[in-house]
């Protein structure tokens, strides 16, 4: 009847000193989804590639072409990795504003859904970064992310978009009708006792009794 409540137990901020409670008690350590970590690592790598690339281009370093490539590659990786996948088990935490990215990434279908593709894609994208000092770090980090994605793919994980659930209201069964809006029928005037004001005793709902307010 209301919008889906976020389970606050897995929300980001707990009271600072309550933290020990939430370190463990909500720990769903059952199956580790490597893709979640691979995603964090890949996003970080994208940012590092981007930064290295900007430094290389702005400083006009030798091999700045690789730096320019790194800027583009960094942006691409960030865009691809920004939308988090839906978790197989447990609540999924969206990144803020990820909805439009989710829609874009989803549009590529199996290319983005499959983690083998992502692993090899990242491995390929990172290679040119190794040719210049400024982008070497981004290259290695993205390589590590690619390995973690490979591990995730081997374990059968895949990317699922987090989309808002459409609330389907249960259709109200036919037998449940609104409470009566009209007063009950009064007896015919001839059976009414003289002097009694039966009109004033008519039933009137003091306030609306539907729950659609």
């Amino acid at each position: 009847m209301t919008s889906p409540k976020k389970d606050w137990l897995t929300k980001r901020k707990a009271l600072p000193s309550c933290e020990h409670l939430f370190l463990h008690h909500v720990n769903k350590m059952g199956k580790i989804e490597w893709a979640m970590w691979a995603n964090e690592q890949a996003l970080a790598s994208g940012l590092i590639l981007l930064t290295g690339g900007i430094v290389g281009v702005a400083g006009q370093f030798r091999g700045w072409e690789f730096a320019a490539y790194a800027v583009a590659a960094g942006v691409f990786v960030c865009l691809l990795e920004y939308p988090r996948s839906k978790r197989a088990k447990g609540t999924s935490m969206e990144r803020s504003g990820q909805h439009c990215f989710t829609v874009c990434v989803k549009a590529f279908g199996p290319l983005t859904r499959n983690y083998y593709v992502r692993a090899f894609l990242h491995a390929g994208v990172c290679v040119p970064g190794g040719f210049m000092l400024a982008t070497v770090l981004g290259c290695v980090c993205l390589g590590i992310a690619s390995l973690i994605y490979l591990a995730a793919a081997i374990r059968g994980e895949h990317w699922e978009p987090i989309l808002p659930r459409k609330d389907t209201r249960k259709p109200v069964a036919e037998s449940i009708k609104n409470p009566p809006q009209n007063p009950p029928p009064r007896p015919p005037p001839e059976t009414r006792r003289k002097g009694k004001d039966v009109e004033g005793a008519a039933y009137d709902n003091p306030m609306s009794v539907t729950d659609d307010e």
């Binding site: 600072p16 690592q41 290695v140």
Partner: protein, 599 residues
């Protein structure tokens, strides 16, 4: 039809009777209360953060300026301002790496807390925010690492430039050629033009250790993100141990002495002011300028971090020692709501209300320690923890304790456990108020088990001396399943209080914030029963969220002229709304004091 009978509008109409007061006195009272509350809760934290930032800024500026002196003149000819931009964050990194190990020495902190608690509770509570500080320092390390690396990228580029521009009338090249013979007094660590910065980086100690420790740092940070930490604790915990590699690499990072300045002896024979322009005449008899000689600074990082590393090693040794101290499980209780209660005894164990311990079970995992709030009162002769079974480790512990077997376990079959702790500041402030409001949301109710039991024990042991006369307890819970063990506790307290004719000492309200249609029908049918159909308690379960305005008003009217302590363990939004209620209901005759950081 079922909808409108049970549906409760959350936080709807208020029944507050407005009292007319002069607005000016009210607002100045409120301002004082706000400031007082703020200062009490946040003041010390803000002070500590400001001091820390101040030291960072000071170190940055000091070390920046230290590289603007004459000794580094020729180095700056090659590198420009990129040199001090690399050295300044290096100093800040030394400082922050010293700090980062300290907040996680929980036994050391526990010892400090015990000593400080007698002087100042506020100061003691600051130590509970150790993890927050650890994270702040980590972010600062990440920031300074970024600045340091970017500056060094420029440095490498400039060093390479100097070697590639092979022109004897170009000072950077002349400087780079120094020391080619003996390989000792050189300035430019890139010794030839047939290499490139990437190769140089991987063939110098500084470069190699730099890459390794930066990678370690990045892996530590990505695996410490909230999502990973809360859901895949093992990944977080094991990856975090890369900090060992980080510190070893950090200490050896400066051993190559790659940052070189003019030696003091050389400064006598070659003053940059005079000699810089006459570089083509260096070493010639008439010039008065010798060829300058350069050397690197001895590595200094170890001086900063050694003490912290030793303290941390000591901390781990203490943990190992404590893990070998005998802990006996005296009773195992399986509660229906997938909760395992362990009652334990350990020699010399002393706890206070609201504290927590780390539990390790070697037969389940030798390396994992998990924190649990203590649910027993200090007055009991055992200590207990209620463990919810939500993951691998807890499931394995459950099976090791015989949870999946139907017959009772023999005492000797129970697994060995180890305890570290107790940690956390005691929540003894609860006992300093005459009237207390305790609010627990969901799993946040756990520390209150300890508090309620302790208050009750204090009452039956020495009746007159207990200051607390009335407790209002609010438990907000999304579902009924987690109720059982706590409901049992409340039931037993209810019985004991009735026996002692103190039935109105504790007034509790349980709010179901989420419920199913099928359950709703059941509640409707049993609405008139004496005991609550869910908990079996005499006081009924309520649905939806509490109307705090009403609650505060009621309490205020029942206890005029008193101070009411409000304690919360739950989500921060609830904390904010409670704080607002405390402020708005604190008037001349009754004061609500919100205690923010007791848990």
């Amino acid at each position: 039809m079922t909808h409108w009978i049970i549906y409760v509008k959350p936080s709807g109409f208020t029944l507050k009777k407005g009292k007319k007061r002069s607005t000016s006195s009210l607002s100045s009272n409120k301002t004082r209360l706000i400031m007082g509350n703020f200062a009490a809760n946040e003041g010390l934290s803000i002070f500590v953060i400001l001091v820390w930032l101040g030291i960072n800024a000071y170190l940055f500026v000091q070390f920046y300026r230290a590289f603007l002196v004459e000794r580094w003149f020729y180095t700056r000819v090659l590198l420009g301002q990129a040199l001090p931009w690399a050295r300044a964050p290096a100093a800040c990194l030394n400082f922050n790496c010293l700090l980062i190990l300290l907040p996680v020495c929980r036994n050391l902190l526990s010892f400090l807390r015990g000593s400080i608690q007698y002087c100042s509770r506020t100061a003691a509570r600051q130590l509970d925010r150790n993890l927050t500080f650890h994270k702040l320092v980590a972010y600062m390390i990440a920031f300074h690492t970024a600045v340091h690396i970017i500056a060094h990228l420029f440095n490498f580029e400039f060093f390479m430039d100097a070697q590639l521009n092979r022109n004897s009338s170009y000072l950077p090249f002349v400087l780079s050629e120094i020391g080619t013979g003996d390989n000792a007094s050189f300035l430019n660590p890139i010794r030839s033009n047939e290499t490139n910065p990437t190769i140089v980086m991987f063939t110098t100690i500084a470069g190699l250790t730099g890459v390794v420790i930066t990678l370690a740092l990045i892996l530590i940070i990505t695996s410490s993100m909230e999502v990973i930490r809360r859901s895949y604790f093992e990944v977080f915990w094991y990856t975090h141990h890369l900090f060992v590699i980080f510190f070893i690499g950090l200490v050896f990072h400066g051993y190559g002495r790659i940052v070189r300045g003019q030696t003091l002896a050389s400064l006598q024979t070659n003053k940059p002011d005079n000699c810089a322009d006459r570089f083509e005449d260096w070493g010639k008899n008439a010039s008065g300028c010798d060829v300058p000689e350069f050397a690197g600074n001895p590595p200094g990082t170890w001086q900063w971090v050694l003490a912290s590393m030793i303290l941390y090693v000591f901390e781990r040794l203490v943990r190992i020692y404590r893990s070998h101290q005998k802990v006996v499980i005296t009773k195992v209780v399986m509660h229906p709501s997938k909760t395992l209660e362990l009652q334990m005894k350990k020699k010399g164990f002393r706890m206070e209300v609201g504290q927590y311990v780390f539990i390790q079970c070697p037969s389940v995992s030798r390396l994992e320690w998990h924190p649990f709030t203590l649910t027993s009162a200090p007055e009991e002769d055992y200590f207990s923890a209620h463990i919810r079974i939500v993951g691998d480790w807890t499931q394995a512990l459950y099976e090791a304790c015989g949870g999946d077997k139907t017959e009772q376990q023999e005492a000797w079959k129970l697994p060995k456990v180890a305890i570290d702790g107790p940690f956390g500041t005691a929540s003894e402030d609860v006992f300093h108020y005459e009237v207390v409001m305790l609010v627990g949301a969901g799993i946040g109710v756990t520390p209150f088990a300890s508090i309620l039991k302790s208050v009750w024990y204090k009452h039956i042991q020495n009746n007159q001396e207990v200051f607390t006369k009335k407790i209002y307890f609010y438990w907000l819970c999304p579902e009924t399943e987690a109720f059982e063990w706590f409901a049992d506790l409340l039931q037993s307290l209810e019985r004991q209080m009735a026996d002692k004719n103190m039935a109105d000492f504790l007034s509790y309200n349980i709010y179901l914030t989420r419920w199913k249609q099928t359950e709703a029908a059941h509640f409707r049918v049993h609405h008139e029963a004496e005991n609550d159909p869910i908990t079996g308690l005499k006081q009924k379960t309520l649905y939806g969220k509490p109307n705090w305005d009403n609650e505060f008003t009621n309490i205020a009217s029942k206890h005029p002229g008193s101070k009411v302590g409000v304690f919360l363990c739950g989500p921060p939004q609830l904390g904010k709304s409670l704080e607002k209620q405390c402020l708005s209901h604190s008037e001349a005759d009754v004061k609500f004091i919100f205690n923010k950081e007791n848990f």
